[in-house]
Symmetry: C2
Subunit: 551 residues, 2 copies
């Protein structure tokens, strides 16, 4: 037996040959190798990599002053401003976990997240003071300390408390040193996702996975040459798909952007020679629409990653004319953002536009450093045949998967059952090994890149005293991709109108989750009383298709 | 304390979210994503990624038939032929360790390596039958089983034993499945390096480091677009700097090459539109020289990595005219090949050729995924000032460092002393954080990319009965970079000639290690009797410089 292990004898890990993998290594190196190169652009603000690193180290020192350390959570509710970049480095440097909150959530959801995550601090932008103030009022105890991140490009507004981000940063006498985490399995981020149930689940990700996916972005996208990245994708979405860390790995430039303003985007693309950007389909089509109106022309090649629904032919055609090449990716918060990519084969360039739309519209193959993606029968875990017809569930296995859901052992166990991560998304596998989503099993509606749980919306509607039964399904929408639509069976005698029920929803949940359309009717159920949602879904979208053709 | 660990509670690793990092994952994915894309070209032979993967799985199955498994070593003595690519996948797939032997070594060294590594099998190319036969004769017991790798492009020769690589591969009924290793810290390769002492040390590397450096090559070199890689670098050198694995990660093409034949290289560059290649300075200058003679012109951009000595101005100028852009890297077998890179800053493009030669001639900064390189005082381990003057030792820390030396606990401990890997190379640090090698502390002569231990050569010369004292130092050489030169003090009455002593060396060691020049004289020693080699080194090279100017 000794012979079997000759390569493990007196060949242990030591301080010199074993270091925890962490994206913090990327910014440390960027500050050394590209100290004077621009790292962040926001309006007139510019930070070099040396400055961004120093500011991140200062942020870590500030957090330590508030007794934030390993195992703590720090929440941020910020648009894509420089402080959001800094948070992705400074918070983990302090040993803590960044909890980036979706800025579109309502006070109740924000309060739930702040409370469930036990966030010690909250960094917040003035735009979200109203919702944050309301959220804090709902919290009984253990409210986080709020730090105001003022944005000099915006109008001054009132503060929550007295702590100012920039002042605290400047008051630091000694920026914190940047050490790797004790263990690469240590948590780096916490991201809440709305899945099947109303209460969001806290996805815990780790340094190792963040490191690997940051690099996987480079491999997947062949990120080469000077990278100038435009922040059209919210950084609160799966930590901007790990791109804050990817940009440190390649010494690229982050061009920050408060909100998706198509005219501004066109200006920034031209001004900064943007080379890369990411977004939901709606972002790409808004850019394309705006470009058609403005007659802008870019003299350089731009590459976009598109997630969510497949890019429709009209979008693909429009953006191609602008010199934008789109690549389709798919992933979840649980996979740190993109986990599959529709790798383009050289022979596709000879295809017609329609053929390319069909080929590129698939979710594709495993991301370069994601170990494995498979379409499996959810009961037997056997792979489905690659026939383009048999539906199975998309499952992943690899290093770029969450640790699990925070304080939710049963959901974690369920998600990882049988040694695979179950996405809940249904797909078929094509003969070339590319997968294509056919349906979602968990009733999630994706609207403008945001996940909406249909069950959460149904739950709210059914709490209305005049509603007997409700079913919420996605309605295809040219602008948002999908919007929620509700089929509602009213109690006898009710005269509730569509607008009244929509207003009720808007008053009680994040506005974007409220149904855009309500159809009152008796709902079709199975013999066991289960609503036959697939019938409603079919009916709705064939009606929508007819309407679209007619319009 | 419970609160401190909320991100580690019920969030353990499981089969779905934790997989050992291994470059085997790259070929598995390449076979799925690019099954029909060419992976290997050698003469008229072509293998796609699906074929290369299948052949590697067949090789693993063959090895298993010979009872090769985890912890075993399989030696290969092969030029850059397809079987060498396959060995980099098939051997680790069987759980074993690839021991790639330098094909320029003599029988004694080969016998030592085969014996010390306890290699069960040896894959050998006909060209090395004589040396392997002589090596096997020297081995008392536990001789490895030899498998003949015939090369159809070469003349048939006699075999060692009866086992033929291709026949064995074809006879496999069931290719082995490709699993990741049990542990990413498991050994993947064993490479013998000649350092300060005569007996080479066996550098053991692991799957994790090989995976990371394979990817680090992509980041460092901005490997994008279709990659067509020409194998001018021997794959037995630090496993071809991990490029067999890098090419699998990016789905690139390996254009194999038996030997560095400049005319053939020019043909291959043009024929296959080679995009990338690596080599010692001599390789680049041979290509440049041959190109000048042949008036060849390439219509495309070619990128080269150059290691070893800095590229001289004349080489840089010549290759640039061919459309070749060189990047300077530095590393050792212990660092899986390149571990620093001279990252080009945009502002350098405005410099004169001489300035660029000086800037690009430095060893640079840490490789993208190598954690840290530093120039430290070897006694205190304090960093030297970045003044371009103070000499210190180059040291590394990170994940791309060997496990240690096989069965050599003291050398391992010495190499990793104080939590840093000690390279033995001396350098200064420039103000911009780039390091530049100033001298080598361990008396290694690098000739045509090969390390020669001056102590080993001195030892042999001093064993000659007519020699009293010998000192071997590097002599600058336009073709080889350096060659060994010996200062020899003969015993009284000896009439030994330069040619006789050179012949003696050639007969008793690998030919390339024999001194090219011998100077007979009394050697200068210190008061304690130590030879003042620095004096000899200075004298020799100022003489060489004078000769060069005069010629």
């Amino acid at each position: 037996m000794t012979e079997l292990c000759q390569f493990n004898q007196a060949l242990e890990k030591n301080e010199a040959n074993s270091v925890a993998l962490s994206p913090l290594s990327f910014i440390k190196r960027a500050a050394k190798v590209y100290p004077l190169r621009t790292a962040v652009i926001y309006g007139d603000q510019r930070y070099t990599w040396a400055q961004l690193y120093e500011r991140s180290c200062r942020l870590a020192a500030v957090l330590q002053q508030f007794d934030v350390g390993r195992g703590d959570s720090v929440a941020v509710m910020l648009p894509n401003v420089p402080a959001m970049c800094e948070s992705h480095f400074g918070i983990p440097m302090a040993g803590a976990v960044i909890n980036a909150i979706n800025v579109r959530l309502d006070a109740e959801a924000v309060a739930f997240i702040l409370s469930h995550s036990r966030s010690k601090l909250l960094l917040v932008d003035p735009e979200y003071y109203p919702v944050v103030t309301a959220a804090l009022e709902r919290m009984d105890n253990e409210r986080p300390t709020v730090i105001n991140v003022s944005d000099t490009t915006q109008q001054g507004e009132q503060m929550i408390g007295e702590l100012m981000y920039e002042t605290l940063l400047q008051q630091v006498s000694e920026p914190a040193p940047c050490f790797p985490p004790l263990d690469e399995w240590d948590a780096i981020a916490l991201g809440y996702t709305s899945g099947t149930t109303g209460n969001p689940k806290g996805v815990v990700t780790h340094h190792r996975g963040a490191y690997l996916n940051a690099v996987s972005n480079v491999l997947s996208w062949e990120l080469a040459g000077p990278v100038v990245y435009l922040w059209t994708l919210p950084m609160f979405h799966c930590n901007g798909w790990c791109f804050p860390w990817t940009l440190a790995a390649v010494g690229g430039i982050s061009v920050c952007l408060r909100k998706v303003d198509p005219e501004l985007i066109l200006e920034l693309i031209a001004e900064h020679q943007i080379s890369h950007y990411c977004g939901a389909p709606i972002v790409h089509s808004m850019i394309a629409e705006a470009a058609l109106k403005s007659d802008v022309e870019f003299g350089h090649k731009i590459r976009g990653l598109i997630a969510g629904a497949a890019p429709p032919a009209v979008v693909l055609e429009k953006v191609e004319r602008l010199g934008i090449e789109l690549t389709h990716v798919y992933g979840l918060t649980e996979t740190y953002g993109p986990a599959t990519v529709c790798v383009k084969q050289p022979e596709w360039t000879d295809c017609t536009l329609d053929e390319r739309v069909a080929l590129n519209g698939r979710q594709g193959v495993a991301y370069p450093m994601q170990e494995e993606v498979a379409v499996l029968d959810p009961n037997t875990l056997e792979p489905v045949p690659a026939d383009g017809k048999t539906v199975g569930e998309i499952m992943f296995r690899g290093n770029i998967l969450m640790k699990g859901y925070l304080r939710n052992e049963s959901a974690t166990a369920e998600a990882f059952e049988g040694g695979w991560f179950h996405t809940g998304d249904l797909a078929v596998l094509h003969a070339d090994g590319y997968l294509k989503i056919s349906d979602r099993s968990k009733d999630v509606i994706i609207s403008g890149g945001e996940n909406i749980s249909s069950l959460e919306v149904e739950d709210l509607i059914q709490r209305h005293p005049e509603v007997e039964l409700a079913a919420v399904v996605p309605l295809a929408d040219e602008k948002w991709g999908e919007v929620p639509a509700a089929f509602v069976q009213l109690r006898a005698g009710s005269a509730l109108t569509e607008q009244q029920l929509i207003d009720y929803c808007r008053a009680n949940m994040s506005r974007f989750k409220a149904p855009k359309k309500i159809i009152f009717e008796a709902l079709p159920t199975t013999s066991t009383g289960k609503i036959q949602k697939f019938l409603l879904r079919q009916r709705l979208n064939s009606a929508a298709a007819v309407a679209a053709v007619a319009s």
